[in-house]
Amino acid sequence: MASKAIFSTLRRSLTKPHGGAVSRRHHLSTTSAATASEPYPGDEHAIVMKGVRISGRPLYLDMQSTTPLDPRVFDAMNASSIYDYGNPHSRTHLYGWEAENAVEVARIQVAKLIGASPKEIVFLSGATEANNTVVKGVMHFYKDKKRHVITTQTEHKCVLDSCRHLQQEGRPRVRLEPLMNGGGQERGLRSGTLATQQVVGFGVACELAMKEMEYDEKWIKRLQERLLNGVREKLDGVVVNGSLESRYAGNLNLSFAYVEGESLLMGLKEVAVSSGSACTSASLEPSYVLRALGVDEDMAHTSIRFGIGRFTTEEEIDKAVELTVKQVEKLREMSPLYEMVKEGIDIKNIQWSQH
């Protein structure tokens, strides 16, 4: 799809390095991937932030945290921000009617993507509020009759589970108590004036997702394989966390044995990724999701999460492979565990001196 390549380029040329100066050589891409083979004179593109110095903007491979905005969605939101300034709940004038229309169009776009009726879509501020509303709202509503909620260890969204559970018992409509009280918007389920341009953006994003899902899946799967194979070609002791088959291709969570996650992240400062290690969480516990997947504690500390998206390029993947391999090798040189394994010691059976 030529349009995707154009948007990829367009998106990158809009994000400039903090230094301000944009070199003509780099106008098509400011990521480390494109500048890999060209050492530039001086350090005019170096970014220094929070005590860290990096030679350019890092590659973005953290799609499970956030994703960059599709320029087509931005266009729709931009236009909506300027023109749809009426309150979508104002009944009395054209501005309100137009804003309401924009919201209802978006509602249909969202519903179509997930095979629901528009009447089943409620807009709130995000996933956290939605989860809270459904879990607490449903339980409060049914508190006299049902007190049991079923969930899974790896799930932190009880939304669909709760509703489906109740629906299966023959209830055609799931009722809930609202979390936000006020003017009764969204049929009383969530009071508060909607931010029209956000809703419009959501709708357009859903429509695009529906149209391009097959293509996106193929592209992302291809990149996922390129990343995994690239890394496995050069390194042993690479474990995929979770099933490789029943998995969203854009998430590649890898454990690099004998190397701790936070130290690897710090070495990979030219790649934006996440880790499931204890040190990167506020609680000093390794990711409970990894533990629930059956990952050993010491391997949970070594995990790195790569997120691949619609706009990720092969260049970025290749560069990520190169940087990852280099850092893992360097840290393994420093790792007493790797040394022991190389000497043939079975590290699973050692008595460590805990403290």
């Binding site: 936070e262 130290s263 290690s277 790792s335 007493p336 460590w352 403290h355």
Partner: protein, 115 residues
Amino acid sequence: MRMISNVGTGVVGAPACGDLMKLQVKFDGSGKIVDARFKTFGCGSAIPASSLATEWVKGKSMEEVLTIKNSQIAKHLFLPPVKLHCSMLAEDAIKAAVKDYQKKQGEANGETFEA
């Protein structure tokens, strides 16, 4: 290196906790540390803590290095509260390495050394 009698090796921590430090100190005939090396499986605070330990023990005597406190390491590295245990581990590693050296010395002299 583990077999040589003038080198003490200390291994502290546990992979399940995400921290494992191995510290080695080499003594000369006069009881001074002339070289130190580390290998660490650990985070962005554990690795520098053990690295700093190897820098600080060089040129010091056994008694001197046993007075190195985790708080000094933490202060030098500006470790935040959540990472203080890394400096503690580094202090433990120094003590473990010295203890190992003493044990080897005791064995070399035909004594059994009770710590």
